[in-house]
Amino acid sequence: MVPARWRLAWVLVLAVVACEQATTKQPVVFDEPLPYDPGPDVGGLTVQKAILADGEVTFDEYEKAFTAGIQCMRDEGFDVEGPLRYPDGVILIEPGADPRHRLGLLANNITQAEDERWNDVNQRCQVQWYYMVELIYLQQFDATEAEVQAWLERAWACAKEKGLELSNPPTESEAGHSVAFGCRPWENSG
């Protein structure tokens, strides 16, 4: 368990770093409904807003916010590994996306008895510490329609090479599943 004064110090360090990096760019205004009620602000929301205030999110800021979120989950007694980067941990796939930009976590030994509490803690810590920052960071890498199409076609071509049976016409979902069989459609984009 991390003492409260250390957490407060961590919040202050993150806030100062975010403020120091402020430039003349317009702040990012995050006005979407959050997926979970974050509850009282324990510092994370303030840090996230400070990070967004300079109009951009760097990988370093994303990683620091994510790490703070994991610490929040550990403070609740869960055994959480992370931040994990591709190819470790979960690989998250959507058409056109490159999973190497993402961070992930693994929570060990979530028993049935702890499942509901973990679900609450995971969502609350995420929303408090890194949900907004992660979304804004990742959306820098949004693929164009042409890039998505090229991604799908690389996945289908790879699936055929590996002998996977495709529907006619092949589905986007099949392109996603080809990743499990070793296809890497986000590579080779040049």
Binding site: V90, D142, E174
Partner: protein, 134 residues
């Protein structure tokens, strides 16, 4: 008559062996799938439809949320896999995709999954849905 029956039996046996061998030679995309939905999420008379599955693909546990009618914005998944009762926590897509998949490491089996979708009209989030009891 006995000869004819014997030929039929041989044919059935050979046919059965061929039927067993053909699927084995073509890797299947996903196995052990547990699917749920489509679930409706209506806001301002517009219904977003999404569904969820979990299973295994080439020895890796996976969970997948699908947008069925283009009515969703972001998609969310949560996957729990064995061995070790490991939970990957909630992950959110970065765009408004047709599907969002999370793959666990090699030699893992999906235990359960949960799924959510964000409505494209007002960006609110659906309730958590799951293919079967968690």
């Amino acid at each position: 008559m006995r000869k004819l029956m014997s030929r039929i039996k041989v044919s059935v046996v050979i046919g059965g062996l061929v039927a067993l061998l053909i699927p084995a030679s073509t890797p299947a995309f996903a196995g052990g799938v547990s699917a749920g939905g489509p679930w409706n999420y209506t806001r301002q008379t517009i219904t977003a439809q999404f569904s969820g599955v979990h299973g295994s693909a080439d020895g890796k546990a996976f969970a997948q949320t699908n947008d069925h009618n283009g009515g969703c914005a972001l998609l969310k998944i949560r996957l729990k896999h064995n061995p070790g009762n490991i939970d990957l926590g909630w992950a959110t897509s970065m765009n408004a995709p047709s599907f969002f998949i999370g793959f666990g490491p090699a030699n893992t089996t999906a235990v359960s999954s949960q799924h959510r979708a964000q409505h494209s009209v007002d960006e609110t989030w659906s309730a958590i849905q799951q293919p079967h009891a968690w």
